[in-house]
């Protein structure tokens, strides 16, 4: 039977690999997103002061005096679950590696021999033609592995 890790352990393992491969900026963006939390919408009943007779000011009544009114939509933020954190990370790899490779392929077709150069020429990045062809097998493996891992997470939620 194959060994298994919790999604939290898997997240930390992939984080370590990304950092090792020079993709710490991806890790930083994912960690920042996790810190910000997951935006959701939630319906809640607005509380209101019930009308009172006479001179009594309802605002000075204690909170239990507040009554639930109509239900409206609010924005809320919750923490990402461990599975969602792993999904965020996989999606970030999709963008940083697979989608970047797809963009690289289109760009090199349109601008063959493209070079990015800073004004001072201290930064020079040559986008090699056919580079993505050389990495095609690895890119395909990565896409398959990410899809399978995402499907496994999806299945575990469907159970």
């Amino acid at each position: 039977m194959p060994a298994e890790l919790s999604s939290r352990e898997a997240f930390e393992n992939v984080i370590a690999t990304l950092s090792e491969k020079g993709l710490a900026w991806v890790v930083n963006q994912v960690r920042h997103q996790i810190e910000l939390g997951k935006p959701i919408t939630r319906r809640a009943k607005e509380l209101y002061y019930p009308r009172r007779s006479g001179e009594e000011d309802s605002r000075f009544a204690s909170d239990p005096a507040l009554r639930p009114g109509r239900e409206v939509q609010f924005r809320a933020t919750v923490e990402y679950t461990d599975d969602e954190r792993l999904q965020l990370l996989l999606s970030a790899i999709q963008q940083a590696v697979l989608n970047t490779a797809a963009i690289e392929e289109v760009v090199t077709r349109q601008f063959p021999g493209l070079t990015f150069v800073s004004e001072e020429a201290d930064v020079r990045i040559v986008v090699g033609e056919g580079e993505t062809d050389n990495r095609a097998a690895a890119l395909l493996h990565l896409q398959t592995a990410i899809d399978e891992l995402n499907a496994a997470i999806g299945e575990s939620h469907g159970r």
Partner: protein, 229 residues
């Protein structure tokens, strides 16, 4: 914040497959945040040029010495009149319209006369040439199209959309576009509320999004042609 906990177990085999495929799939020089952003900007420039070609435009690549087939783009914002490098731009001849140019990463002067970076800027050849000859910055009022490009691996931080709205105020929001590879509910809501042009989830594998963006750029070209007939 509330947090619910999942107890999903990940097979070691699946995880190893992701980790072992990562190394050979990346090119270290292109795997930095700035290189990914540069590539994305070049990709968007390509869509701008495709939009023009679809309208029957002839596109020629030039640098300050004349026509070229070398593609040299900026890594960071610079001046249109810079002579530091032979930066490439596209000269676009739309049918029945004055010559225009598409540049990557040049700075333009806003209404406030403050300089702003345009990831992709399209402006009349006359304005661009005036700027090159006199070493001055293009005026935002002359922009035919400006595109702010953002490449992120997660949802875009809100402050970037806020900055874009501020940019739109100073350079004129008319044909200023905000283009992102990911999505963000909050940002989309904010930009839609302020009636800004925006496009999200732009990747080569999303032909509908690419087509929609190309059409949006074509509207700017169409208006330019109409105004100059």
């Amino acid at each position: 914040m509330q947090r619910s906990v999942n107890h999903m177990a990940v097979s070691d085999e699946l995880l190893n497959a992701v980790q072992s495929a990562l190394g050979p799939a990346i090119v270290p020089s292109l795997s930095t945040s700035s290189a990914s952003s540069d590539l994305f900007e070049a990709y968007v420039l390509g869509i701008v040029l495709d939009a023009a070609r679809d309208l029957g435009a002839q596109v020629e690549y030039r640098n300050r010495n004349g026509p070229t087939n070398q593609f040299v783009f900026r890594t960071s914002p610079g001046f249109i009149f810079s002579t530091a490098q032979l930066y490439t731009y596209a000269s676009i001849a739309l049918p029945n319209a004055p010559l225009i140019e598409a540049h990557m990463g040049v700075q333009v002067a806003g209404r406030s006369e403050v300089l702003h970076e345009c990831d992709v800027a399209v402006l009349p050849h006359t304005e661009a040439q005036t700027c090159r000859v006199n070493s001055v910055h293009p005026r935002s009022s002359k922009l035919i199209l400006a595109v702010e490009c953002k490449f992120y691996t997660v949802s875009l931080p809100l402050h970037l959309a806020r900055s874009f709205i501020g940019l739109g105020v100073d350079i004129g929001a008319g044909d200023c576009h905000f283009v992102v590879n990911t999505n963000s509910y909050v940002i989309e809501k904010l930009l839609a509320h302020h009636k800004r042009h925006w496009e999200h989830q732009l990747v080569p594998g999303a032909p509908l999004v690419v087509g929609r963006l190309r059409n949006s750029f074509q509207i700017a070209f169409k208006n330019f042609i109409a105004k100059n007939q």
